[in-house]
């Protein structure tokens, strides 16, 4: 039933995020394709889909950060932490459920908008390759786990319904600015999920093999942040 609680807790935020992302990304791709037809080259459409992906990256990070805000600290602010902590479940299990539901929702927020963009592209006459779609999805879903981990950590350290998301967004902005330029750019998680390092401007496609190692490192980093959050919550007084 902890799943049920987690779902009810995030249901509205998730549905709004999902519908909003699907609508905005679909509109972007539809609009782009409509403008482009019938005289443009295929790469023009690929640019469109990649542009849709870039939009999705921003939306995804924002919505996942908002969805991740919750847990025992937020419950403390809302006054429900004593009830939750009096249940015969460990804090670890409470967190594990939250992480699982959060990851599933985060994945849905990649897959559904991408499926919609893929479908809209196909309906308007230009089909993107499955591999390209998969490449984009893997970059966002795998590389995005770092953002999920950071948001989760912040929600476990910073109390307050609004403070935690504000701090999270602030950190994401700083990361974007600091790692966005010069020699540090290769370490920017923003560039990674957007596929900037693999994007070929002449063809409008992602090139090269899928960077599995980089994705694994991102997932491990995200897991590390979640583990630190678990430690922080375990030792905290409520």
């Amino acid at each position: 039933m902890l799943w049920y609680k987690s779902w009810l807790e995030t249901r509205s935020r998730f549905m709004i995020s999902l519908l909003g992302s699907v609508a905005l990304c679909s509109f972007y791709v539809y609009h782009w394709d409509k403008e482009a037809m019938p005289y443009t080259k295929p790469e023009y459409y690929y640019y469109g889909l990649h542009g849709g992906h870039s939009l999705l990256c921003v939306l995804w990070v924002l919505t996942v950060t908002l969805l991740t805000m919750g847990g025992l600290l937020r419950e403390r602010a809302a006054g429900t932490a004593p009830f939750t902590l009096a249940l015969p479940v460990s804090r670890m299990r409470l967190m594990a459920t939250r992480v699982s539901v959060g990851v599933l929702q985060a994945m849905a927020l990649v897959i559904f908008p991408w499926s919609a963009m893929f479908l809209i592209g196909g309906l308007t006459g230009k089909t993107h390759s499955m591999y390209q779609a998969f490449f984009h999805i893997v970059l966002l879903a795998g590389g995005g786990i770092v953002f999920f981990g950071v948001a989760f950590l912040i929600s476990s350290l910073v109390e307050g319904e609004y403070t935690a998301p504000i701090v999270s967004f602030g950190i994401l902005l700083v990361v974007g600015v600091v790692l966005g330029n010069g020699s540090l750019r290769g370490y920017s998680p923003w560039d990674f999920i957007a596929g900037a390092d693999y994007f070929d401007r002449t063809t409008g496609l992602l090139i090269g093999p899928i960077p599995w190692m980089h994705i694994v490192v991102s997932i491990l980093l995200g897991a590390l942040f979640v583990a630190i959050s678990a430690k922080a919550i375990q030792t905290r007084d409520f």
Partner: protein
């Protein structure tokens, strides 16, 4: 049935920086009785309860609930299976309906009693389909109490349970506490409503500034605590020393009158007064309210 304490703490303490919320607390709560935990706001009652339930880590000392150490998280899980708790705020998940809240909570306990839920929903006039966020504070309190009473726990811990309830609700609550105890549940509840405590409690513990200043049964209080008002023809200052006997908690003098507050040994005080040629001696039983005020002022 054993007489082992249901709650036992030894030197339990909690400090937040330089503030000591609970100090050196030695508390024993016996089984199958109603124990009231009295204290002013900020006395440390809620902190103590949260330490007992593993929500707050003690800064010092030790404690056990139902024989299991409060410092052991695994034992804490077992304890929470056997303890029903109603928190001070009575906040529940605002996004759930009353029915969802009941279904969610029931899934964690094997001792859940669906028939009791049905009865209490009717008795408390709770709307099952309504969201918790749209309920009044009194209604929310009733839902929280329903979730606790729907079980058959070994120990029921309630933190300021009557807060937010109207007089009828308070009456129902007090009766429910007595009924729970009659069914074999130990009840431990915090309050600063002395009249409620006096009506239902078997044992009273008073906490003040994080310290336990009284732990006595209500029967003992009724039998032993006395206020002795003595009038002397003249009252020299040194006479007060003559009354510092065992059990004398406080002596006040005004003019020719001396007021002695004794937790026991009232007869010895009376005898001493007679020996010292008191012109008038009046002994009156002391209510819990007076004892509470006395303890709070004294400390």
């Amino acid at each position: 049935m054993t007489n082992a304490p249901v709650i036992e703490t030894n030197g339990l303490g909690k400090s937040y920086g330089k503030t000591n919320a609970v100090r050196d607390l030695d508390l024993t709560v016996g089984p199958d009785r109603i124990t009231a935990f009295l204290g002013l706001n900020g006395a440390g009652k809620s902190t103590t309860i949260r330490m007992l339930l593993g929500m707050v880590k003690p800064s010092g000392g030790s404690g056990a609930v139902l024989g299991k150490s409060i410092g052991d998280p695994a034992a804490g899980l077992d304890v929470r299976r056997q303890v029903a708790y109603v928190s001070e705020d009575k906040r529940l998940y605002a996004y759930m309906t009353v029915e969802q809240m009941i279904r969610f909570t029931s899934s964690f306990y094997l001792d859940w009693r669906a028939d009791v839920v049905k009865t209490l929903l009717k008795q408390y006039d709770l709307p099952p389909g309504q969201k918790i966020r749209s309920l009044s504070k009194g209604m929310r309190t009733k839902v929280a109490l329903l979730l606790a009473f729907a079980r058959r726990p070994e120990l029921l811990i309630l933190d300021e349970p009557s807060e937010g309830l109207d007089p009828v609700g308070i009456e129902d609550l007090l009766q429910a506490l007595v009924a729970q105890c009659a069914e074999g549940t130990t009840v431990f509840f915090s309050s600063h409503q002395i009249a409620e405590v006096e009506r239902v409690a078997d044992q009273v513990c008073i906490l003040h500034h994080g310290r336990l200043v009284l732990d006595a049964s209500v029967d003992d209080i009724r039998q032993s605590y006395r206020q002795i008002d003595i009038v002397f023809p003249s009252l020299p200052a040194e006479l007060q020393v003559q009354f510092q006997l065992a059990g004398v908690e406080n002596i006040r003098t005004r003019g020719h009158q001396m007021n002695v507050f004794a937790s026991r040994n009232a007869d010895a005080v009376v005898e001493r007064a007679r020996d010292l040629h008191a012109s008038s001696i009046e002994v009156t039983p002391v209510g819990l309210r007076d004892i509470f005020l006395q303890k709070v002022k004294e400390n």
